[in-house]
Amino acid sequence: MAQKLYKQPLIPRKVRQAFSNGIVYLLLLAGSGFMFFPLFWMISTSLKTMEEANSPRITWWPAQPQMDAYVQVLTDDRWLLYFSNSVFVTGLAVTGTLVSVAAVAYAFSRIQWPGRNLFFFLMLSTLMLPPQTTLVPQYVVFNKIKWVGTYNPIIIPGFFAGGALYIFLLRQFMMGLPRELDEAALIDGANHFQVWWHIIMPLCKPALATIGVFLFVAHWNSLQAPLIYLQRAEMYTLPVVIANLINPQVRVQPWPLIMAASALTMIPLIVVFFFTQRYILESVALTGTKG
């Protein structure tokens, strides 16, 4: 009925629709090109020879792709050590933070206890605190207890449920689970620890996966804290090494090697994102609507 209200257009609706969809697709593809082109350039450069990568004449894709740079990185004991350092720091920090965040979120969502609202408010207020406020004094303390030069300052603080945003996200998710679950279990004689570990945690897998990925990204990319706390080269994590790869003294940089190392650093991020993107994209949207 409503269609009668419009003038009959010159070009049929279907054609106009197809045309505008085509334009939208073109724009979407252009956007994707924009997103991918640094990654493309990274891969392309990593497959070039030194001369090709540094030549003023640009080749989009090397005439003869070389795997030399990758072989060089992957057979170098130092690079393997840097990889294992990054994996160690990220793995331990993510595990400790995730478990403690899950425990605290459980307290803030499934148990009624006096003081809960006060502490919840305090927790949210730390969201406003820039990390720099605590960076300086924490350094002084870690220096005093001889932790500077070890991995401890990068990893241990997370064990105390570091990251108010993660607690908040997980709490929101746990609030959505039906109350009857824990009540039934508690009446049957289970204690809170059992309810948390055997009932709530398995149901939170999507939220835990998301927060795990956020934590993984934060630690894998982290540059500032390792720069401050790690002092010996054999303890460096990947970002610290890569950030210092360019030697301003020389004119010709080993770009293929730098890009191969960078590509290998990016791969874990891309793979993890690929397998968890569904959960992640959902919860990113959630932070905005709840916040």
Binding site: S32, M35, T134
Partner: protein
Amino acid sequence: MNPKLYTLLWAIGTVIFILLSSLAVAAVAKAIVRRRGENRLYQSRTFAGYFFASPWIVGYFIFVIGPTLASLYWSFTRFKLPDPPQWIGLQNYIQLLTADDQFRVSILNSLYVTFFGLPLQLAMALGLALLLYRRLPGEQVFRMVYYLPVMLAANAAMLITWRLVLNPNNGILNTVIRMIEDAVPPLVFARQVVVMITEVTNAAFIGLQRGDFTLLQQTLARGLPVPEAMPLWHQSQLWSKPAIIFIGVWSSGAMMMIYLAALCSVPTHLYEAALVDGASSWQRFWRITFPMISPATFYNLVVGIIATLQIFEQSYVLTDNGGPAQSTYFVAYYLWRSTFRFNKIGYGAAMSWILLVLILVLTLIQFRLANRWVYYEYES
């Protein structure tokens, strides 16, 4: 001793410490409510609640409250490790706010990126969200592609790749620009205009920052740049901040997701009514969509301001320690530099307090202004 084994042992020790301290906190809390004469159920809930929340409560005192108070005290002292702090009153703050040129430059640079970069990021995010909102087949894939840069952007590996991409001579970006211009020659003039506007704006900004306008005079004297003049990105002080903004725009996928969620929650009957009244798509966007998604804009703005004030990796990796000519000194970078490179603990503490106040003030202004333009549907 192997550093990994050392930290692993400390980690195990920390877990034991957390468990014991949680038990202690929970026991104390329970004892207090029992003293008050509460029933058994209430007591056990108190115990469980404090037990589970304790990792955060204990951590809050060790890693937030303690350091914050210490930092407040140290900001009034001269403190160089390993010497003990020396009380000097407000001297750090006076020095920072009146005499430290590098700090003033850093603050102004941070504000520059906030005021010029954030609107561009928002525009990009909203543009992409509007494209995705069509729900065309394959939308999921595009969503993924647009979000991916958010995960990669802060990594040093990505930033070093940007150095290569943005290289003014044989970088891929300027090459692509030249290619497009070869296909569409009138764009050369457009680029010249953009180059001139950017360089004049940046030269004027640097002039205001330093109180020395010779750079601006030189730039203006050059007039419209020669057709060969390309953006110099991280290698020129007139282009280094635009380069950082460019990377920010590249990674605006998180804001896009927020916008997309907001777009999907706009009730369709509003659009139908407008269509019946004969509103154009332009009108529908500015009169319906834009006001209805204003809470998302607000959220993105608040989070974005806090994020731009934290910029560090870009200065360290992309522009080689805040260069050229300190044009990418930002607050967080300068704080790190003077505290940890030059061991000025008290000075750094004072700076972190100024940063905190700056964030609070900017956020407060946001919330004040929000009444005028943010529309919440469930408000009466």
